[in-house]
Symmetry: C2
Subunit: 211 residues, 2 copies
């Protein structure tokens, strides 16, 4: 599937729909109207319908959505459960937290190796993920297929790590270093804690509770 | 200031404008056209103008923006440097990573105390932030003004921590547990790593490199 017209904001809402549907499914909900779904998730019903229409709709007038069906369709659109391999560079607190987060593997995103330059860590493992020497990263990427490279190093090393990922053909970079990564024809997803904190603060100042 | 009409997407872009302007300012850039700014930040120029118009504009036709001026104005709108106090509950990898992230304090967000239930951690400190017993959280919040409560505990404890925050009058919750927090008249900002990873994956599948 190839659809460049889906706006960024819609892409950002898809995982939220997916998460809420998973929750409803685990609660045994079979069917939900767009109005009920709207109340559960806090977006308005017409926006939900409009968002889902980018992908074919899925609902039926006056009937609503079959929860499991919509969850599975969104999972497919998001490319979940298709078996993606990831590596983490940096075994500090962020890298360790990510390695311990089992939810990724449950969705089909497998962390297959970690890398660090700290010789005392090399040979150890975190959550059964082996830690290798950063010097062996290039070789590892040459002999193993890796879809997503995770950057969890201090910001001064972030671009160097990204350059290795790009050079070795990785197509997605998940960047936790607080710095811009320059990359062409590679998807870079930055997790910027400042942005999140500043948005929180803006809403507090302006007493916005309802998004 | 009280403006409920500013859309969520605009609020989310403000911190990105702020970050890019800070970077430009540190590079010695004095003035920038909306077109140049657009190229630097990757949003289109009319969107930037439209976003800034929610707050009065700041630019001049045919002249552009004074970088420092716009950065300062956005900093004020975002409520930076006004001295906010925060506490972290949970001293695992995420809590520790946040405590070590000095950038928050530089923007006026001060972590004044951490809490954990692990008795071996209590009395220690991380990045000069003392760790107290979770049992003393309520008392601490009664005798100290805290603006933002950070949840960095496993998901099964997240709502309990949130309930204490809310009961003690905290107005903003920054939630790193992968679970929905229920709160009225409190701003909750969830950091959901799955959402970020799934959006990255969607863009990879669809070869979307240009947002």
């Amino acid at each position: 599937m190839m659809d460049r017209r889906v706006p960024e904001a819609v892409i950002r809402r898809l995982p939220k729909y997916y998460a809420k549907l998973s929750e409803l499914e685990s609660q045994g909900v079979i069917r939900i109207s767009s109005m009920q779904f709207s109340q559960k998730i806090g977006f308005n019903a017409s926006q939900i319908r409009q968002d889902l229409n980018y992908f074919g709709g899925f609902g039926q007038q006056g009937y609503g959505y079959i929860v499991q069906n919509l969850r599975e369709n969104l999972g497919e659109i998001l490319g979940l459960y298709s078996g993606k391999s990831m590596v983490i560079v940096g075994c500090g607190n962020i890298g360790t937290a990510l390695a311990n987060y089992n939810d990724f593997a449950q969705r089909g995103f497998h962390i297959i190796r970690m890398f660090d330059k700290d010789k005392t860590l090399i040979g150890n493992s975190i959550n059964n993920i082996p830690i290798d020497d950063i010097d062996s990263l290039e070789e590892f990427l040459e002999s193993n297929h890796v879809d997503i490279g995770i950057i969890a190093v201090p910001k001064k090393y972030a671009q160097d790590v990204a350059d290795v990922f790009i050079q070795k053909g990785i197509k997605g970079i998940w960047n936790f270093a607080p710095v811009d990564i320059t990359a062409n024809n590679v998807v870079v997803e930055d997790v910027r804690l400042n942005d999140s904190l500043f948005a929180l603060n803006y809403k507090m100042i302006n007493e916005i509770y309802d998004y």
